[in-house]
């Protein structure tokens, strides 16, 4: 699964997610990715989120909407990402990953899997990483 979130100079936020699913999935299986509130969610009043992980579990906790809700409640994107993913881990025993950006341009990323490839660009500065701590 791949995904992106952004905020532009006009204060508009957007999110996108795309996936090839999982190896050996049943024909016709649909995971979280194309579902609003699961694979993505965004609102100019708050920010944007995109998720990755086990699609069935993400759908059960409406991960992207849950994450943005935490931002609505005042958490930073980083705290919101961590709280939403830890909730999914605790309640469904499923790890995953997510990225988020706020309407102000603050951003966060987190994964409780072994690794997640991510990158951020702000003020022309590109950062990226794969493993925890990078």
């Amino acid at each position: 699964t791949v995904g992106a979130v952004a905020v532009d100079a006009h204060g508009n936020v957007a999110a996108a997610t795309s996936t090839g699913g999982i190896t050996g999935q049943m024909i016709g299986r649909v995971g979280d990715s194309p579902l609003i509130g699961n694979g993505v969610y965004c609102d100019n009043a708050v920010g944007a989120a995109s998720t990755t992980g086990r699609g069935e579990e993400i759908a059960k906790v409406t991960l992207a909407r849950n994450l943005v809700f935490h931002m609505e409640q005042g958490l930073s994107p980083q705290d919101a990402v961590e709280k939403a993913l830890n909730f999914m881990q605790e309640r469904r025993g499923a790890p995953g990953g997510a990225i988020a950006v706020s309407k102000n341009g603050d951003f966060g990323y987190y994964f409780n899997t072994k690794a997640m490839i991510w990158a951020s660009v702000q003020n022309g500065q590109l950062h990226y990483g794969v493993y925890p701590g990078e």
């Binding site: 699964t1 791949v2 992106a4 979130v5 952004a6 905020v7 532009d8 100079a9 006009h10 204060g11 508009n12 936020v13 957007a14 999110a15 996108a16 997610t17 795309s18 996936t19 090839g20 699913g21 999982i22 190896t23 050996g24 999935q25 024909i27 016709g28 649909v30 995971g31 990715s33 194309p34 579902l35 609003i36 993505v40 969610y41 965004c42 609102d43 100019n44 708050v46 944007a48 990755t52 992980g53 086990r54 995953g96 990953g97 990225i99 950006v101 309407k103 341009g105 951003f107 994964f111 899997t113 072994k114 690794a115 490839i117 991510w118 990158a119 951020s120 660009v121 702000q122 794969v130």
Partner: protein, 180 residues
């Protein structure tokens, strides 16, 4: 209120590092940087557009066979590719998605067309393909989306199934996470 600093954040999945034992981490790092740069171009200047930025970044990752989307998608039990994508913009809470498409080069771009040109939020399978033809999106041979590492990955999966192993046994033995 001050304008926000244009910002793009992207991910290439939490499971992309576990393909059949072979992991091209350098290739993944290169791909994610390229996608970030391509997306960020749409955030600078007067035409700064978040929706254009996320679409461009995701298209780049869909075109890269190392990532599980577009070309390089994981395979179904039938050995086929079925791709899903969604795009959403925060100004008016508009969204569009496609699911179970087999031969669209950039599903996220088709999802954007669903958002912009239909009253619906999600088109599936044949319906999505019919819509793609109506709006002039090029369809490609489905085989072009299937890569050798993904074939091998499915073979390993089926081998373990035949051996009566459970998913979690497979995960442990191959180090594979069954993630989207």
């Amino acid at each position: 209120m001050m304008a926000p600093s244009p910002t793009l954040v992207i991910h290439g999945g939490a499971g992309a590092l576990s393909h059949t034992g072979y992991v091209d981490v350098d290739g993944l790092k290169s791909g994610i940087q390229q996608a970030a740069r391509l997306g960020y171009r749409h955030l600078v200047g007067q035409t700064s557009s978040a929706i254009d930025a996320v679409e461009a970044a995701v298209c780049s990752l869909e075109d890269n066979p190392l990532f599980n989307a577009g070309r390089g998608s994981e395979l179904t039990l039938g050995g086929t590719v079925e791709m899903d994508a969604i795009i959403m913009e925060g100004r008016d809470l508009r969204a569009g998605g496609v699911t179970c498409v087999r031969n669209i080069q950039n599903p996220v771009s088709l999802a954007r067309l669903v958002m912009e040109k239909t009253e619906h939020v999600l088109l599936a399978g044949e319906g999505a393909n019919k819509f793609a033809r109506e709006v002039g999106v090029v369809e490609m041979p489905p085989e072009e989306f299937i890569t050798e590492p993904r074939r091998k990955q499915l073979e390993n999966y089926l081998e373990f199934q035949r051996a009566g192993k459970q998913i979690h046994d497979k995960d442990r033995e191959l180090g594979i996470d069954d993630h989207d």
